[in-house]
Symmetry: C2
Subunit: 224 residues, 2 copies
Amino acid sequence: MTHSGQKRDERYRAIMETAARLICERGYEGTSMQEIAAACRMTKAGLYHHVQNKEQLLFDIMSYGMDAFEGQVLEKVRDIPDPIERLRECMRLNIELVTCGFSKEVIIILHEHATLTGEARAFIDGRKKRYVRFLEDSFSEAVRVGRARPVQPTVAAFAFLGMVLWIYKWFQPDGRLSVQQIAEGMVDLLFNGVVAPAGTLPVPAPGEAPVLSLVPPTVVGGES
Amino acid sequence: MTHSGQKRDERYRAIMETAARLICERGYEGTSMQEIAAACRMTKAGLYHHVQNKEQLLFDIMSYGMDAFEGQVLEKVRDIPDPIERLRECMRLNIELVTCGFSKEVIIILHEHATLTGEARAFIDGRKKRYVRFLEDSFSEAVRVGRARPVQPTVAAFAFLGMVLWIYKWFQPDGRLSVQQIAEGMVDLLFNGVVAPAGTLPVPAPGEAPVLSLVPPTVVGGES
């Protein structure tokens, strides 16, 4: 990348940060390009030099948030061999992301999920669905290798996501609970009851069906 | 109530139902009173005969949803003596409410939480906070009487709420998971690890501090 390309990127990132703050406060419909330009100390024409239109800006903010999520959460846990440790660490890191630096972008991804249309929406939805699959696959693996008692992987994945992603609705950075208390509390609440007590579940041989699965294969999967 | 008062109420309920459907689809900012009137097969003047302004209509829809929630969930479980049974039944009924009849109103309460202003917002927020307190109190009681291992009541309350209220983001009425599978799965996931194994936690005498509480009193409570 050229030096001027980098500078343009930094400038654009600053615009996205400012726009994300405004959209978070006022909603997408309630924020005009004029207001975004003013908050960036630019003219509206100057803003349109950097961005095609408001929907493109929203898509870019969401992509920027998804990049942060994938870099700071998914890529860091993907290769943890034990599925329960992978899920626990994933929950901790995702809670950090939601409560710390990227909360604006995360809120917009979550709150404006129905605002994008067409291909842009399908693209962001695809990235979100990959995360759901990753969670479902990790829960399935945990059951299969005897690390978890039989839980329905889709329900478990969405329980995980609900616990983590709802935090943006109630968390106050200056509240009485620290991020660490919340993260450890949530990890404990979900996984204490999921992990199979040591020695209670036999580990099936590779390729063999799990011995104690109560989940018939026909109900695996779920949201259509 | 007079017969004509009842008829007016029914008419108003039908207006709220229609408005709720539109606001759900398009968002509050994206829905005009003109569109609501048209969907109700009324003139705009006719609509203003029933409702003062759009913010009043939003407040009335949220109040209607909160009435439904309190009548169909909270009042039905409030008097269950065992705190764990109370919480389990509360989760089941709340999941039914979110997935069935009142999903539009629930979505609006959740999604447009920052749209109301002033007293109207404070009033709805107060009703929501009473629910959070009810959950925190029930988890505290479960720990105190030895029915639950020590969990932080605020984290547990928001874990419960996240699991239940996130469902509106992903649930598909024609999906592969039934409401009952989701409800039983969620109840199992949260409470399997919370309930104290029989006989492991001594029940303290009334007024006595719980013997095994790991939660120092100073961290109880949380969101500010």
